[in-house]
């Protein structure tokens, strides 16, 4: 078993929570994990990414080689395209449809979606909308993680446990909202995949 995953977005959008959830689940499944994060300057509204590698064997490089990622998980549509050089021919791209516009020359969203649809395996979902319907507009990142979960080779329940663990110190209400968002994202994704 080997999953090479790139998680992308804009600094402050919560990609590290996605990475941390997968990380906790990997530990529970007794898998090897390497997860390279971006800290420092880029976290101030710049593009950020995390290389996350899971395997049942020892992992060498902290970085995923080009063309070998099985999955791109993106909380922002334009950012999902930035990592196409890493995506393998059969890899999946799972992205939020809602742009985060903090630059003056942000391209037209239709153009971005058109490029995303050129990727053979893609899932585009309105994570912000689904998060709002789940009762927590701040859990769009968990909707995206849920949407990506069918492509991660770990039992969904272990991701649920990880989300519970990650948010437990913020109280049961926050835990439930995030679990709901995670599940809603997964259901939407499975519906789109078929």
């Amino acid at each position: 078993m080997k999953n090479d995953i790139i998680i992308s977005g804009v600094g402050g959008q919560g990609i590290l929570s996605i990475a941390a959830s997968i990380g906790l689940a990997a530990v529970a499944n007794d898998l090897f994990l390497k997860q390279a994060e971006v800290h420092g300057m880029s976290q101030r509204g710049g593009d950020v990414q995390s290389h996350l590698r899971l395997s049942d064997k020892k992992i060498s490089s902290d970085l995923i080689p080009y063309g070998e990622a099985n999955l791109i998980i993106s909380v922002e549509p334009m950012e999902s395209l930035r990592y196409l050089p890493w995506l393998s021919a059969d890899g999946w791209l799972v992205t939020n449809s809602n742009p985060f516009i903090n630059i003056p020359d942000y391209p037209a969203i239709d153009e971005i979606l058109k490029e995303i649809k050129k990727v053979k395996n893609h899932i585009i979902i309105d994570a912000d909308g689904i998060a709002k319907n789940s009762g927590s507009s701040r859990s769009g990142n968990m909707v995206i993680l849920g949407a990506a979960s069918p492509f991660i080779d770990m039992p969904f329940q272990s991701l649920e446990n990880a989300v519970r663990e990650l948010f437990s110190r913020k109280g049961e209400e926050v835990v439930q909202a995030n679990l709901k968002a995670l599940k809603a994202g997964r259901e939407r994704s499975i519906a789109l995949k078929v």
Partner: protein
């Protein structure tokens, strides 16, 4: 023992705690910050009251750690690579004094300059100061090395350099934890003059430092990290240092038996192993994360021996960090690639947060400085450096911690008027105060704007020693009370703030404007934690 999932930085911190650390010293700097933060959040550290407060700068951190070592206890000091320049005086001389309790100096390099102004390779400092240097290839090795580094430090009475890079520092991996070692007890150095570098003493100490460097090559706790593995084919031998070894393994995991490989993770260089691999191979590839430190040594000036590939001949790019593709190409393996990034994808550089006081301060500054034209504003290291980018285009320099103040002084000396410095509060107490004393001493015509967000913002909001003290500090240094102006950089104060700035530019002497508004990130965090307490 327990299995953990830790960043490289955190693995080093955890190892230090497990190895009986008594004091951690540091100034925040990417990618080293999380070492101290981990210790500050550790229950173990709190329970035994391990020292864990931030220092004013890397030099004070280094010296305080040396003091703890003098008292016989194990100490660690951590900084980013450019921080080691600030601490260089004490670091180099700590090799001369030697240590008593074990002392580890962690320097976190940032090849490719993800969050830094240069990509200097700290291994040079190890060679320069003649101390052992460890360069882990992965997080587990970083954890294990800390134990050996303390032992080597105490056995040879030397500080030990632990050199890491961004990818190791900020990548999480599985760690096997070792058994805990108790802290050392307070015990003074046997020789009361050990730390006294009077020339007559220093000359003797230097001779012993020179000879100990040679004996380090035969130290088992160093040499065990340098391994030679022969291969079936002798066409190409590969020497890989530190994290480069990971990228090598990523590429030759299945064909590893074809290549003689020398992994180097500790210095001084294993000369015998280098002679061994070069002696049995037709050609050699040298992979190093950072500068071609080893490659230059192996080639020598004559470079007339075995054919060597590396950074110096362009097989590997001369600058920037390594990755699996660069290493694959260097070995001659095919490189996979997905699709090109579509041309509609735009750059997204970092920017000021919504509600950031720096941005309102720069808006006022831009208006105030407009009549004088371009080129009057020296700046410094921190979030506010982002004002170099559009739409602000406000600043003309960013060199090193504190350089805004002193460059403004020099430019004023040359006749530039007005000459303005913009520096953050934490950067000011790190290295700006001494420059301000220079300005006061000769009554330079400079205006120093301290953009005070009451935190160390860029690195994630660590405590700033300037908080609540800036007016007092400036007055104490000798700035006239009436030329210490405190403003609140909010949009509604824009016009008034610009007028204050302009008035101070026109003053022919030292003025300080403190633009005081809490960082929006730390303010949000603080409010959140206050509500959760209720």
């Amino acid at each position: 023992m327990k299995k953990l999932l830790l960043l490289g930085d955190e693995a080093i911190a955890q190892a230090a705690l497990d190895a009986g650390l008594s004091g951690m010293y540091a100034y925040p700097g990417t990618p080293s910050t999380e070492i101290m933060e981990f210790i500050q959040n550790s229950k173990d550290a709190a329970g035994r009251n391990v020292h864990r407060q931030w220092s004013s700068n890397e030099k004070t951190a280094m010296e305080a750690a040396l003091g703890m070592s003098y008292a016989g206890k194990r100490a660690m000091v951590a900084m980013k690579h450019v921080g080691l320049n600030v601490a260089a005086d004490s670091f180099i001389n700590s090799a001369m004094t030697g240590v008593n309790g074990g002392l580890i100096v962690v320097s976190a390099d940032d090849p490719s300059m993800h969050s830094s102004q240069n990509e200097q390779d700290s291994r040079f400092y190890g060679k320069f100061s003649l101390v052992p240097c460890f360069e882990p290839s992965n997080q587990q090795e970083a954890y294990d090395m800390v134990f050996d580094a303390f032992e080597v430090s105490e056995k040879y009475k030397l500080p030990v350099l632990l050199r890491i890079t961004t990818r190791l520092a900020h990548s999480r991996a599985n760690i096997h934890q070792k058994a805990h070692i108790p802290e050392k007890i307070l015990s003074l150095p046997a020789d009361p003059l050990q730390f006294v570098l009077l020339p007559a003493i220093a000359r003797k100490k230097y001779k012993s430092l020179l000879s100990s460097y040679e004996s380090l090559r035969y130290e088992n706790r160093i040499s065990k990290y340098n391994n030679f593995k022969d291969g079936n084919r002798r066409a190409l031998g590969i020497i890989a240092c530190g994290i480069a070894y990971n990228y090598l393994l990523e590429n030759i995991e299945e064909t590893i038996n074809d290549f003689p490989v020398l992994k180097i993770s500790a210095y001084p260089f294993p000369s015998d192993l280098i002679k061994d691999i070069t002696g049995r191979c037709e050609e050699i590839l040298i992979l190093e994360e950072g500068a071609p430190l080893l490659e230059e040594s192996v080639r020598g000036i004559l470079d007339d021996g075995i054919k060597i590939y590396g950074r110096l001949d362009g097989t590997v790019p001369r600058d920037g960090e390594l990755n699996p593709a660069i290493v694959a190409k260097a070995i001659g393996l095919p490189v996979s690639y997905g699709k090109d990034v579509p041309s509609i994808v735009k750059m997204r550089p970092p920017s000021f947060c919504n509600g950031c006081g720096h941005s309102d301060m720069f808006n006022s500054l831009n208006e105030a400085v407009k009549p004088y034209g371009q080129g009057h504003v020296f700046s410094d290291i921190g979030c506010y450096t982002l004002a170099a980018l559009p739409p602000y285009n406000s600043i003309n320099s960013c060199v090193d911690m504190g350089a805004s103040v002193t460059m403004a002084i020099g430019a004023a000396d040359a006749g530039l008027f007005p000459s303005i410095a913009v520096i953050g509060d934490s950067t000011f107490t790190h290295s700006g105060m001494t420059g301000l004393l220079d300005a006061v001493d000769k009554n330079s015509s400079v205006t120093i704007i301290i953009s005070d967000n009451s935190t160390t913002g860029m690195t994630g909001g660590q405590k700033s020693k300037a908080t609540g003290r800036l007016e007092q500090i400036c007055e104490g240094i000798g700035v006239l009370r009436e030329h210490i102006r405190v403003i609140v950089p909010l949009r509604k104060n824009h016009a008034a703030n610009a007028l204050i700035m302009k008035a101070e530019f026109e003053y022919k002497g030292v003025s300080v404007i403190i633009a005081l508004r809490e960082c929006i990130q730390t303010a949000t965090k603080r409010k959140r934690s206050e509500t959760s307490v209720e």
